[in-house]
Amino acid sequence: MKKLYLVTALMIVASIILTACGAPATTAPTQAPVTSAPTEAMTEAPTAAATEAPTQAATQAPSGQAPDCTKPDVFCVGFVTDVGKIDDKSFNQTAWEGVQKAQSDGVANWVQYIETTDSKDYDKNIATFADAGYDMVVTWGFALTDATYNAAKQYPNTFFVGGDQFLSKDDNHPDWPLANLVGVVYNEDQSGFLVGALAAMVSKSHKLGAVCGTDAVPPVWRYGEGYKAGAAYEDAKNSTKTEVTVVYHSDVGFDKTFTDPTWGADTANSMIDKGADAIFGCGGKTGNGAVDAAAQRKVYAIGVDTDQYFTLPEAASQMLSSAMKPETQPVADIIKLAKDGKFPTGGLYAGPSGYAPYHDLASAVPANVDAEMQALLAGLTDGSIKTNVPPVKPAQ
């Protein structure tokens, strides 16, 4: 009996191996049931695939088979996430939507992603695309900086785009800037400027607060200083006098500065006690704590990076706006530039600035304020309005 079962088992193995090696790749690839947990994969994946990834299903299903990306007339784009999921509702997802947009716009013929599960796979995941003849590889996250730089050197005929990868010429990157590599960076001061101006215009007490992470991180400093500059700009325009208090959580180490919601809430509360009626939270969970406190005290709350109306549901009803770093459009734009032979040079590409919609508080924003906000955004984008915030905090 035992032998019989052994033989059966062996036959099963053999059939798996034989079919795996022998079957031609005729079947259509699936539309990536994008789910977060393994258990979900069993029960919810089919619906999730249908509802959460409609673009993907629509764009990949008809073509079915991956085209030959090595052909010059087939433009393929690969996307490598940082350790995390493609449907994280923030960082990775918004950038991947930019890649998908390039496909639905007809710019890219084929797009594909690889989710990184461990940082040691960065090189391999990037190389998987480059070796398959992809024309462009988009890597998203600061941690992929070195892997992307090295891949760009190794594959000079492939374009590389790095999100949040502020490279400069240094010991580890001696050949920067490379002609086939661009890092997407943001003018956070402009986004801070926009929400600062908005807060100054809708504030009744003309006292504003901002609770931020450490100013040793340049983007955080730019947000905070931009916020001040925006309020000052509107003051000058409307001859008001707005008092802006920006507090950076620079008194603790890096382990704490972005993960201290209690401090954020306490600081926001003390600002509100002194009369502030709008709080800008800029700095991870620390800022989120401030935003939540502001919402509890029923003053205006302002989020950061993404539209936090969606990510902080407890504070949604008091969420005036968020200082945004849009990712979708710049990714799509760079893909188009590369395809048109106009890949950005100089190693850095400035992503757009923006502010989130007012959502539940739309009625609190008068039409003239909204018009002014649109004018500010246009002015900042075309350069006619300047924040005058330097890129990094000047040395004392």
Binding site: M1, K2, K3, Y5, L6, A9, I12, V13, I16, T19, A20, C21, A23, A25, T27, P29, T30, Q31, A32, P33, V34, T35, A37, P38, A41, M42, A45, P46, A49, Q60, A66, V83, Q112, Y113, I114, E115, T117, D118, S119, K120, D121, K124, N125, A127, T128, F129, A132, F142, A143, F166, L167, S168, D170, N172, V217, G253, F254, D255, K256, V392
Partner: protein, 373 residues
Amino acid sequence: MQSSNEPGFIKNLRQWLEPLIVPLLAIITAVILGGLIIKSVGGDPFAAYRGLVQGAFGSKKALSETAVWATPYIFAGLAVAFAFKGGLFNIGAEGQLAFGAVAAALIGYALPKWLGHDIPAFIHIPLAVGLGMLAGGLWAAIPGALKAYTGGHEVINTIMMNYIALNITSFLLNGPMKDPNPLNVVARTPAIAKSARIAPIFDGLRVHWGFVLALLVALLIWWILQKTTLGFEIRTVGSNPDAAKYAGINVQRTIIISMAISGMLAGLAGAIEVTALNYRHELGFAVGYGFDAIAIALLGKTNPFGVVLAAILFGAMRNGGTRMQFLTQIPVDIISVIQALILLFVAADAIIRFIYRIRVREERVVLTRGWGG
């Protein structure tokens, strides 16, 4: 069929294969179930597994990456397996591994600065790896001593000490050991000095001498367990501490040594990852290796060579996942599902024995005697 005149080599083969049956059937069953899951979410299991195999073994580069993945799994798997032999369940490999990595990184980048000049590689590498090993060993010796002298259960203590180790690591990498480069925003140490880096074996491939070391260490662990007095003592304490005590073995000392060696192996896993692969310690690297190691030790039946095979299997699955995703866009989570199923079937081998009607060990002993060897 099972006649007494069966040639000797077949009997030997049978004895070798016997312990492999349950793990192999567990793997096959898990793979089949995984295929059904892929099918049920609308994927093509054959395309997925083809991608997995190609990604793991399909090219020189794929083989190299599989070895890279297997290396820490071998060390950490040996760590857990060694403790098992001593009757101890070391769930703390995760924390011991983290400390091994921290110590190796610190020696790697800071020692030349402290001394004020460069260190030759033949001193620097053993120092970084050795102190990483020591850090893991000391960290594991604490729950060993608690067990030996107070009876505090090592499962609870090693779990608790994981949290302590991981939080201390987080503090160090965010604070005193953080890469001071102003452009750096993540929790990681500076890169280690060139003299502390273990070289790749082949140009252009990442597989490094750490993999060879892992295989040698597996051999060494087998030798310690089977051929030395210490190994005998450890196994005796593991199977029956009372009998060991009666036989004159210092049980307390043996427990501490078992845990210390187990921790040294886990520390080695972390130290090698730093010195041979990442060239720095970064928070979030190697997350879960210590827990995967438990599965690997169980799948390898706590036999050092079994651990090597299980580690290579797990490494291959982790590595091949990239190509599977690339070809089919099936989420890599399926790999975790299959690994979990394997673990389930190995741990609860009654399921496998029931499905495939394999007799339990007691009967097998009778059968073996029946072959009349």
